[in-house]
Assembly symmetry: C2
């Protein structure tokens, strides 16, 4: 029999998330937390958005969360933004403390937006808010049109919903109307974007949204 | 400050997994645990395999694990096998006790194989063995060729590795050689299959493997 002292992990996380948010608000930095299945295309979207925003003179940094490897941080840096890679070493989500420590490693002077890519997982990250202004759920066409029904918490708690890989619609049975209907049943208020990193569809609209939200955070 | 009595959750799970395995061995039933990301195609593979094995007179039952909904169990029953749906209510993986209870609800007389579809998640299910003879990892082409490197535990601990959705290779940048090279670095012994539920590629080979393993379990 083992007796172990437990603190409320979620309570601690929530406090640190609030302090992350306060820091971003004070420094006028918009923060987005991208969640989605492995291979839903989170990094590809960030590559496109980083390129587009950099071309407009907007300063962006990225915090990459992965179980292992620095592949995603390397891709982001090749796209033109500084990236800080967190390896969770098996952990299935980022928590707010990891993000807080990562921010201490980044030079935030003049930064307009921080993008956080969570561990590829449509279940666990939903329970651990990081303090971001927007939690962005990325679903993709090859995953199937029933994902909102099967992973409802992620969609219910999302502040933005992205359907990615629209270029694959001709090759895959996917009922777009059904996807958005199921999504609307859980969350009818989150802004939605349909994008493709291959064709570029929707990237401009997504960047436009981010630029508007940066202006709001800067007040 | 809260003090809470903790038992070793993983230790308990391991004991129940061993008892599941003993029961399957005694009854001459082959058990396979399918793990993979949301939308990797676990249910589609099971639909095809169930149809093929049923046509050969092999009796199969399926235990479906999902955060929410009975979609997958309905699809399996439409394909011709009895299915028992477990909803974890937010839980990110099945554990052995859930499977043990599900088996008590199924009539196992004359059953040759049990397929368990784990919650769509490439991280958490790896830590909770269910007692199955084979842990099958399903990856899919749209997820990208770097998945073994990014989710190493799932590939390292797999007994069978399936690359699904090979029909999408013409439409997606995916380096098959790189995928299997990264996979081999973690696990060079697990049997591997490349399949497509759309074209039918590889389904026969996968079924042949299952039939041979059923014969071994029946001794």
């Amino acid at each position: 029999m083992r007796v172990q002292l437990m603190r409320s992990v979620l309570g601690d996380n929530s406090q640190i998330a609030q302090s992350n948010r306060q820091r971003w608000d004070e420094e006028g930095i918009l923060a987005l937390d991208f969640m989605g299945s492995p291979g839903s295309g989170k990094t590809s979207i960030l590559e496109r958005v980083v390129q587009e925003l950099s071309a407009r003179g907007i300063s962006v940094k990225v915090i990459e969360g992965d179980v292992a490897s620095a592949n995603d941080a390397e891709r982001i840096e090749a796209a033109g933004a500084e990236a800080f890679q967190i390896n969770t070493g098996g952990g299935c989500h980022l928590h707010a403390g990891m993000v807080s420590r990562a921010m201490n490693e980044l030079d935030l002077a003049g930064v307009d937006a921080i993008f956080i890519e969570n561990v590829g997982n449509l279940v666990c990250p939903t329970a651990f808010k990081l303090g971001a202004h927007f939690r962005v759920v990325v679903a993709s066409v090859p995953e199937g049109d029933d994902k909102p029904e099967k992973y409802p918490v992620a969609f219910r708690e999302a502040d933005v919903i992205i359907l990615n890989k629209s270029d694959l619609l001709p090759y895959i049975p996917f009922d777009t109307e059904r996807f958005w209907h199921l999504s609307d049943q859980l969350n009818s208020t989150a802004p939605r974007f349909t994008v493709s990193c291959a064709s570029g569809e929707g990237i401009d609209e997504l960047c436009e949204f981010i630029v508007e939200e940066i202006a709001k955070v800067k007040g």
